[in-house]
Symmetry: C2
């Protein structure tokens, strides 16, 4: 399969699940060693899950299928440029390349404007619209010390 074949699969998922009423018009596939290992589509409204974006769902599916949280060496084809949540998920999954079809301007034109979110994430905490309040730092630090001391931990 070619890059275009994989992208057409992502686009086909975006169309089918949008038409079926599962969520917004977004689809994605994770590919490793020339084969699709995970497929996803937007399920925000149907699954009552604000994190159920196509890329996140495709990554979750790939992790389940390959039985690892480390998708190093894999790539993702997504029908639209990822939002900051999905982009960060792509980094955590260690994907090595993102292929995307629609751009952020296309998404903004149909009401999905990720630009504000990119600005908020990039801003220092005190400049964000979302208040962030620190408390009980000392008590939580004891758990971090426990992690450091844990001899059988599975680091990642």
């Amino acid at each position: 399969m070619t890059h275009e074949d994989f992208m057409r699969r992502a686009i086909a998922l975006s169309r089918a699940h949008m038409e079926a009423g599962h969520g917004g018009p977004f689809g994605a596939v994770v590919v490793k060693d020339g084969a699709i290992v995970g497929e996803g589509w937007n399920e925000v409204t149907s699954a009552n899950d604000p994190t159920a974006h196509a890329e996140v769902m495709a990554i979750r599916a790939a992790g389940r299928n390959l039985r690892t949280h480390d998708l190093g060496g894999a790539v993702i084809y997504t029908s639209c440029e990822p939002c900051p949540m999905c982009l960060a998920a792509i980094y955590w999954a260690r994907l090595k390349c993102v292929y995307y079809a629609n751009g952020r301007a296309d998404a903004a034109a149909i009401g999905f404007d990720d630009a504000l979110l990119y600005e908020e994430i990039a801003a220092p905490p005190e400049k964000r619209s979302l208040p962030m309040v620190r408390l009980l730092g000392g008590e939580a630090l004891e758990v971090f010390d426990g992690w450091t001391a844990k001899s059988d931990k599975k680091a990642y």
Copy 2:
């Protein structure tokens, strides 16, 4: 329950599930109208899910419990300052405040350095370490047009 009570619950979850080997030392609770509506903890390595951070899992649980993707009016207590993925998820869920205990410097000190990720997300695509390649924009745009034309869509 006070702010400290909710945070102590988040810290207790971080400790219990870290000790049980479910993942890193992170816990979170989503609270609405004075009650916990979702709890989460890091399950990255045990669930083979790179997106299974405490905040994401708490948001997913809250959405399931309240049967909505819109957690507007709710807040989150997390045992550590959120990474960019979790922060973006918090925005998508429309939470109105983040209470956190450990800070990003504490996390970096035990090997969870989110700083690079914050830099990558903030950078323009061409400056990122992750390659992003556009293809088939025209074909995907047809699906966006379909979304615009869809009369029974559930916008979000």
